[in-house]
């Protein structure tokens, strides 16, 4: 099975609403990184976390520091420009410096 499972696979929201995306890991992970892929296909790094939480504007991400088996990305007051596909990628504790990606959450923000 997949090491990194993202949910939901797709989500449609109206402007101004809040949402939460989640990544579950089948094993303990060292770190997690969240990306947004825009309509041109570019991957934009949002957060890198080895533990705890980080916040940037309307985005906030958390990485479960105890068991290190899940991470969340919260979007507050969604705007049209938040539309895109969101990926989480996690590094396992094996020390190989490689990230495994989830299959993504397609987020559509409607006016």
């Amino acid at each position: 099975g997949d090491q990194v499972e993202q949910s939901p696979s797709a989500l449609s929201l109206h402007e101004g609403t809040d949402s939460a995306l989640r990544c579950n890991f089948t094993t303990t992970m060292r770190s997690v990184q969240w990306f947004r892929q825009n309509s041109r296909g570019s991957l934009i790094s949002l957060f890198y976390l080895a533990s705890g939480t980080k916040e940037n504007g309307r985005l906030k991400s958390a990485f479960d520091s105890k068991e290190r088996r899940y991470s969340t990305l919260h979007i507050r007051d969604a705007q049209l420009e938040d539309s895109g596909t969101y990926f989480c990628a996690a590094e396992d504790t094996g020390g190989a410096d490689r990230l495994t990606f989830g299959k993504g959450t397609q987020l559509i923000i409607q006016p």
Partner: protein
């Protein structure tokens, strides 16, 4: 800001032909990666490298070779291209130990094998 440049941006190849995808980074990162992205699969790791002269197999290495002749350059080689290798390929660089430890991606190469 870190820079990863891929070339070409688009490529059409014939079945059985040789294809080389190039990646250059100006970040002085030790690690570089090649991923492919397909609908329903997300990004999957093909090959990666820890530095000049190093290449490591990722999760789906079959049908691909990699070459890291220098710190800056990392190539992905398809010796005998097949239609199943039609995909979008992303190169990335990154480094453990720097403060953010992020992966930086190129803009992608769209490869079509006919």
């Amino acid at each position: 800001e870190a820079a990863v440049t891929q070339s070409p941006r688009n490529k059409v190849a014939v079945t059985g032909g040789k294809v080389t995808l190039s990646c250059n980074q100006t970040n002085n990162h030790n690690n570089m990666y090649w991923y492919r992205q397909d609908t329903g699969h997300g990004l999957r790791l093909i090959h990666y490298s820890y530095g000049a002269g190093s290449t490591e197999k990722g999760d789906i290495p079959d049908g691909y070779k990699a070459s890291r002749p220098s710190q800056e350059n990392f190539s992905l080689i398809l010796e005998l291209a097949t239609p199943s290798q039609t995909s979008v390929y992303f190169c990335a660089s990154g480094d453990r130990g720097v403060s953010n430890e992020r992966l930086f991606f190129g803009h992608g190469t769209k490869l079509s094998v006919l």
